[in-house]
Symmetry: C2
Subunit: 425 residues, 2 copies
């Protein structure tokens, strides 16, 4: 079966796609589409076996796709990537890419409005909270939070359970009087303190936490309550955003860089109670003033349109999965088998984090014999499990297993860890 | 010719692609690839005429692609979009999308380093200038420029030739003592003043211009020289960045949102002389401090990776076109035929901008009979020429004809304008 035509085509995908999937192998279907921009003829060749009986679509990794355990940017859902790819050149018949759309046109407005509506549905965000799609990552929010929620003489509290909370505290020193009310650094950030013993500042405008410390793998399972009745809880949720249900009403403000669980880098989502908006310090850059963005529905200046579109596709996918209750179940299962493998390794693998606050998203672990770490990483890489190296500040390994990491990826990692241990114990 | 196979495929593209191109029509090549995620068989049907003689690849618009005259986000080069699409799911055999890559991994480092190297080649950027890939658009730079280049008591000068220059001035008022040394507002922003008559502040740390005012279509063809020998020229080049050669050494700092000429929204490029870095005011958010970004090669926090990748593809494309000299020739030709059509319309169409400073990028024009504007837009839209409506603050029409707008798009617009005039004069 072959055809030639004196035309050009831009369909670059076909050649590799059917070979992408391990579960296709038995049927040995191959296609070739030669791509040429010149006016020369191109050829199509197709060979396909006769249909076999229907087989269930097993959860499997496409053959040339790796399991990516990076801490962020991180793996994205395969179906979201494929949808984005299919729509990239011409979104919904609009005749243009999402990247080319005016942010003030009706097409992009429909995209950002749906993204917000789906996020509101996922997290059950009440109407008295604004949802903002911003730029600059959580690091920009380290400044925006104190600039919007405090005055220069105000006291604010920081509960520091890792590097990110510490960075947030340091940035706040420029804009108000932040106080660290607990710091896990001397214990190498392995736990969250008991909330009862915390000495909060009586007049603190807010209490800041990092809900999941990406580097150390420490995750809040409960949330503290500000002792100042006029204070609010603020959380950096960058690395566990939309990984489980969260009662938004417990917080005055939640912010999250998108590049771990909900999209590509370049989008930062802020969920803020509306009555907290409108008090930015005079020195606040206009781009860090929540009021400006809330009044303009995140369209004061040109937003990161394509990133917001990608987040929207992810939100849609999470809703289709059954919402965050279902997502949390999957995340608990994935994290459970990985932590179990570590704990049952008789010390060959170790996770230093206190069991009650181990992160469902970022699983740091070390080898009893650190000299084996390089070999571990090399072999894992060969098995197409990548980005397992721990953060440079702590060493060891770290498996980030965000929403989009398939169960199969964790199962493969655990099988590999057991095999590696058997060979090197 | 037909084949069936009991497999699934993610190749969503094939079905429409060959029909995308007007120049394919005579050969009537059609393909159908049914996409199914279920394990049901899919079918391929191909029909192709016999090869005809090779025909030159004429510059033509793919049939279902529109000519997008939006001011930004704006049209991107078709070949760049197609390359991005082909690589979206699996970049260069890495097993992942660019959107999933760790920004500290070797793959993304190769992407950002090549993007910077290509931009340096395009603009001939000397080694004593840093190139930064940032977030937050030009609007963030409106604050970052005074925060980095001045102290609170310093005087700085703004030459205001449109809304963007005015916004930049207003933001600077938070951080230093900016002075407007010329303002075109009373004349409705139709010109650039003579530089000889400018009363610059003797000690101004910098002189700020907006090199191309997107809304009003006013473009600097020459650049003023700061009268303070220790002062520098700063330019917002968002809407004419990489549209023509620029002598970077004339400037202390150039900044540009990417979403007009070089990429999607969400990336802002800063080119800054290195000796100007390192003096940010204490109140500057860390994300607005050039020193942080320069020391970390734009990787202090997670950068907008996919946007930077897209910019890199555009830079590569501009180099392949022969660099900015060639690009400028094309832009002059496109703008020339459009302005000629306006000027030769005997007043049916009018462009208010002084001829010597008319923008090669943004061409605003009005109709002698404003009551025809809605009809003009409606008919143009029907002809697949979209986003021609002028900015809400000025009305009328605006055709943004950035680098990626093909000559064919401008020719089609001009033909339409003449036809519209013939029918409505």
């Amino acid at each position: 079966m072959a055809a030639t035509a004196s035309t050009t085509s831009h369909s670059l995908l076909l050649q590799k796609t059917p070979q992408n999937h391990a579960f296709l192998k038995p049927n040995s279907t191959t296609f070739t589409l030669t791509y040429q921009r010149s006016p020369k003829p191109f050829s199509i060749s197709c060979s396909a076996t006769t249909p076999t009986q229907d087989r269930p679509l097993v959860q499997s990794q496409p053959q040339d796709r790796v399991f990516n355990f990076a801490a962020g940017p991180a793996t994205l859902p395969e179906n979201v990537l494929l949808k984005a790819q299919s729509e990239l050149y011409n979104w919904h018949g609009s005749g243009m890419s999402v990247m080319e759309m005016s942010h003030r046109g009706k097409d992009f407005r429909s995209i950002i409005e749906k993204a917000e509506a789906d996020l509101r549905a996922l997290l059950n965000i009440p109407e008295d909270y604004a949802v903002l799609f911003l730029q600059g990552g959580a690091t920009t929010q380290f400044a925006a939070v104190p600039l919007n929620l405090s005055r220069p003489d105000d006291t604010v509290d920081y509960l520091v359970t890792g590097s990110w909370g510490d960075k947030a505290f340091k940035e706040a020193q420029k804009y108000c009087k932040p106080k660290v009310i607990w710091n896990g650094k001397s214990e190498k950030y392995v736990r969250v303190p008991s909330f009862d013993g915390l000495e909060q500042s009586p007049n603190a405008k807010y209490l800041h936490i990092c809900a999941n410390e990406t580097i150390y793998g420490v995750e809040f399972k409960e949330y503290p309550v500000p002792s100042n009745p006029n204070g609010v809880l603020v959380a950096d949720m960058s690395s566990n955003f939309c990984s489980k249900p969260v009662d938004v009403t417990r917080f005055g403000l939640i912010y999250a860089g998108a590049q771990k669980n909900v999209g590509p880098a370049g989008v930062c989502i802020v969920i803020v109670r509306k009555d907290l908006i409108g008090n930015a310090q005079e020195i606040s850059p206009v781009m860090l003033d929540y009021k400006i963005h809330a009044e303009n529905n995140s369209l004061y200046n040109t937003p990161p349109c394509f990133g917001i579109y990608m987040c929207g596709l992810v939100f849609e996918d999470l809703l289709k999965q059954g919402g965050l209750e279902e997502v949390e179940k999957k995340n608990k299962k994935k994290a459970g088998i990985l932590y179990n493998a570590i704990d049952e390794s008789k010390g060959f693998y170790r996770c230093p984090v206190e069991k009650s606050v181990r992160s469902l998203m970022n699983v740091p672990f070390t080898l009893e014999k650190p000299e084996l770490e390089a070999e571990f990483l090399k072999e894992a890489d060969r098995e197409k499990m990548v980005q397992l190296k721990g953060h440079r500040s702590v060493g060891g390994m770290r498996a980030s297993i965000y929403n989009a990491m398939p169960l199969a990826g964790v199962e493969k990692l655990v099988a590999f860890m057991k095999d590696f241990q058997a060979r090197h114990a």
